[in-house]
Every structure is written in structure tokens, then in C-alpha cells.
């Protein structure tokens, strides 16, 4: 290819290539290197230490619960988001004015500022001052310390996550539902189907591929949920809500252990990559099969 002909293309692609290289790939390899080294913001150059950092992760009490917390949170958050999003999509499917309005309402949490709304939630869940507390008092119970109880913290965060994200699931499901031909739904009615049969024969199968998408999207977002933890619980109480993403932050910028943080980052990356790869492989095969 003559250089002259390739010039415009190269020129247009160059900034992006440089940006990716300098701001993405370079730091990525930095993380990989750090994960296997012992450097921790020290002036001394890093030394290679093999898997030592990973061993420390597994051994240390503070970090042991992290993976468990992360998976538990992800499970609750993703299932909640999927179910709520699906119900919202099914309920608001018909194009009425009311439904349009309600769809916008469903998207409000997604669209609004994360940190600001988290502070609102914090205020609402405050056991002394928050409105939730009053409700409990009305019914004669003692208010629960939603974010302060070790057993309650993670589920509470999951609920807030669902509140934030179910709109996204809803939008994706609605797109999937819109794809079903009107004639197929009429055909099934003529064949004798009630609403339950229609759901079973036409709509749910149409949603199956989308559901997989939504699952993966929600899962990755759940793994990346930093703001929730950072604003509301800071990993507590007693590390009950320390998820992987927060642990990375803590190790690097609270405890100044860059090497451990890098190792955790690598674990995080492998997790996300595994999910994406599985999705691509499974989805592709499913598409080809049908």
C-alpha cells in the first residue's frame, strides 16, 4: 500500500492508537508487572517475587472475605436487577402515555448522579434520623441499622444497586420485546393462548438471548460497583461489604501496598475477562445453533 494513499487513514487513527497505547496498554502491563513484584511506592526499584502477592491475598484475614463478598453481592445484585428489569419491561411494554411516563421514572436512578443519590440513600437509611426509621417506630419495632449491621450491609447495597440499574435491564428487555412480530402474537391468540401461554410460547423465548446480555452487563457493573461501597460503607462494618473493587482501592491508597493492589487488580481483570469470553463463546454458539 503506498504511503500516500494510507496517509489520511494513518493520521486519523494515530491519536487513538497512541492514546490506547499510552493510556491503556501501558498501564495495563504496569499492573501486570506490579502484581508480580514487591514495589509499594518505595524509591527502590521493584523486584520480581512470583506469586507471593497472591499468596498474601489468600492468607490475610482482611482480604479473605473479599472474594466471597464480591460473589454474594454480585449474585444478589444481578438476580434482583434481572427480575425487576424483566417485570418492569413486561408491565410497561404497551405504548401508553402512562407507561411512557413510568419508563422515564424507571430510568431516573440510572440517569441521576450516583454519589448524590447515594448520600440521599444514606440519609434515608439512617436509623436515627431517616424516614425508614420512623416507619419502623410506627410499627413498634426497633429500627434496623441497614448499613451498619454486618449481615445487612451487603444486601442493602444490593438493593440500592438494583434501584440504580433495573432501568438499564428494562430498556434492554423492552428492545428485545419490541423485536417480536405483532403477527406472531396474534397468531398465538388465535391458536387459543391466554396471557400465560403467550408469555411462554412467544415472549419469553424471544427474551432468552437478551436475558443473557443483560445478565452479563449487570454482572460486570456489579463487579465494578465502587461508589456504593466507597460512599456508604467504606468496606465495613468489619469488612462485611468489602468487595474486590473496593479492596483494590484500599490496598493501594489506604494501606499503600501497591503490589497487593496490583495483584487484586489482576484477579479482577481475569474475572471480567472470563465473563466476557464466556459470553462471547456461549452466545456465538447459541446463535449458530438456532
Amino acid at each position: 500500500m503506498s504511503t500516500r494513499a494510507a496517509f489520511p487513514g494513518l493520521l486519523m487513527a494515530l491519536p487513538a492508537a497512541l492514546a490506547l497505547l499510552a493510556l491503556l496498554y501501558l498501564p495495563f502491563f504496569g499492573t501486570v508487572l506490579l502484581a508480580f513484584s514487591d514495589w509499594s511506592f518505595t524509591p527502590a526499584p521493584p523486584r520480581f517475587v512470583g506469586l507471593a502477592n497472591f499468596e498474601r491475598i489468600l492468607a490475610e484475614g482482611r482480604l479473605q472475605g473479599t472474594l466471597g463478598n464480591t460473589l454474594l453481592f454480585a449474585l444478589m445484585a444481578v438476580c434482583g436487577t434481572l427480575l425487576t428489569g424483566l417485570c418492569a419491561a413486561l408491565a410497561l411494554e404497551r405504548r401508553t402515555v402512562l407507561n411512557g411516563l413510568l419508563r422515564s421514572v424507571a430510568l431516573l436512578p440510572l440517569m441521576s448522579a450516583s454519589v448524590a443519590m447515594l448520600l440521599v440513600w444514606e440519609m434515608m437509611l439512617n436509623p436515627i434520623v431517616g424516614p425508614g426509621a420512623t416507619l419502623f417506630a410506627l410499627f413498634g419495632g426497633t429500627p434496623l441499622h441497614w448499613l451498619g449491621e454486618p449481615r445487612l450491609a451487603l444486601p442493602t447495597l444490593a438493593v440500592i444497586f438494583v434501584w440504580q440499574n433495573f432501568g438499564l435491564a428494562m430498556v434492554l428487555f423492552l428492545a428485545g420485546l419490541a423485536g417480536t412480530e405483532a403477527q406472531i402474537r396474534e397468531a398465538v391468540r388465535i391458536d387459543g393462548a391466554g396471557w400465560a401461554d403467550e408469555l411462554r410460547i412467544v415472549r419469553l423465548p424471544a427474551l432468552a438471548p437478551i436475558a443473557l446480555f443483560v445478565f452479563v452487563v449487570a454482572l460486570i457493573r456489579a463487579l465494578q460497583a465502587f461508589d456504593l461501597v466507597a460512599v456508604l460503607t467504606r468496606g465495613g462494618p468489619d469488612g462485611a461489604s468489602r468487595t474486590l473493587i473496593y479492596a483494590i482501592f484500599e490496598e493501594a491508597f489506604r494501606y499503600f501496598r501497591a503490589d497487593v493492589a496490583a495483584a487484586l487488580s489482576l484477579v479482577f481483570f481475569c474475572l471480567v475477562a472470563a465473563i466476557v469470553l464466556t459470553k462471547v463463546l456461549v452466545l456465538d454458539r447459541a446463535m449458530r445453533g438456532s
Binding site: G9, V105, A113, V231
Partner: protein, 268 residues
Amino acid sequence: MAGTLATIAKLLLLGLVALPFMVMLTVALTDSGLMLLLGGASQAELTLTHLGHVLRDGAYLTYFINSSIVAGGTLLGQLLVSVPAGFALARLRLPGRGLFFAAVLAALVVPHEVLALPLFVGMSSLGLMDTLVALILPSIASPFAIFLFRQVFLTLPQDLLDAAAIDGIGSFGMLTRIGLPVAASAIAAFAVISLSAHWNDLLWPLIVSQTEASRTVPLGLINYRNEESGDDYGPLMAACLLMVAPLLIMFLALQRHFVRGLTFLGLK
């Protein structure tokens, strides 16, 4: 009958969804709204004192400006870098196109949190800590944006470009005159996603920003919450309201684009 029942159920549930917003509005704009909710007061008056309190706080203004600069600057940078790259990948002669595209795809898998630490080290060694530049720079490399615009430009009919070539229009002309109009709505959708993501970003500013000068609104809010103890939530909620308001306005104005952007994001 079932219809009205369903409608009532829908309204109730979505009322619950909207609850935090209502609470925020109540506390921010009334003098004892919170107490009213708790049944401790019998009435509350609408007031702008909390808002005034926040707006008079010069620091908040700084945060607002910083956030705006960061969000806007990031978007600008992303567009300047990704739109031409997407066009080149889709439509121009590019040696190593396959490799470049593969690199973009691979980069899509990498979550940005994984890069935070080395980027911090890098920014620090370049002396860029605590600057808005440091806040903007790393986000400019957006594999998602490059991928998105490539997809958009792939839909351009080749005939159109051939005709332009015969007319003597060069590649840059094709990008600006033919590509951009077509990409306009994708750009709008992307803009909505990018602006809200960077307006809301907490992690990176938390790492980079050390003084008030470079603080963004999310940090400012956290700061305010941490320092201002006590039970007067009014100013805090007012500050939250101010942070949320621009996003909601943008959302209401550009809802269609937002939904389309979300679908792109999901199908990524």
C-alpha cells in the same frame, strides 16, 4: 378490573422508585421537611436557604466548574480521538487495520479500574497530580467510543464515498461532510453516556485530586458530608440536588438518545 389493579400496582411501585428523589427535594427545599416526614413537625415551609447556603459557598462553585470542565473536556477529547479513528477503521485504507481493531476489541475487556494504580504512578511522576488535566487525560482513550463510531461509519454506503472520491473530496472532507452528519445521533447518544459517566466519576478524582482546587462535585459532596456532621441535612441535600439537576435536565431533553445509547452500551 385487572387493568386498574395493574395500573395502581405500577404507580405504587414506581412511586417507590421515585422516593429518594422526593425525599431529596423535600429536604433540600423546605426548612423542616425531614421532620415533617418523620412526623415531628406539623408543617414545613418551602425555602431556598439551603440552596443559598450551598451556592454562596465558593468552594462548591469551584467543584461545579471543575466537574464541567472535566466532563466536557473528556467528551471533547474522546470525540476528537475516536471519531476519526472509527472512520479510518471502517472506511479508509489503513495498514495494520486488523491489528488495530483487534487491539481495540481486546481493550474493551479491560475495566478501567485495573489501570488506576499505574496511571496514578504515571501522573504523579509527570507532576500532574491534582490537576484537571490528570482527571481528563486517561479517559480519552475509550475503546468503546472507537468501536461505536466504527460501527456507525460501517453503515455508510460505499457508493456515497465513491461518488465523493470522484468529485475530488479527500478523506478528511469525507469525514466531515459525509460521515459527521450520519454519525450525529450516535455522537449525541455517546455524549449523554460520557458526560454523565464523568460527571459522576468518583474513583479517579478520589485518587488524583488532593486539594480543593481540583476537586469535582462528587468529591465535594463526600467532603461536605464527612466534615459537616450533625443532623441538618438541608444543605447537603441541596448540594445533592444541584449535582443531580443538570443530569436530569439533560436526560429529560435527550431521553431518546439516552435510551439508544444504553442499547449500544448493552450490545457492546
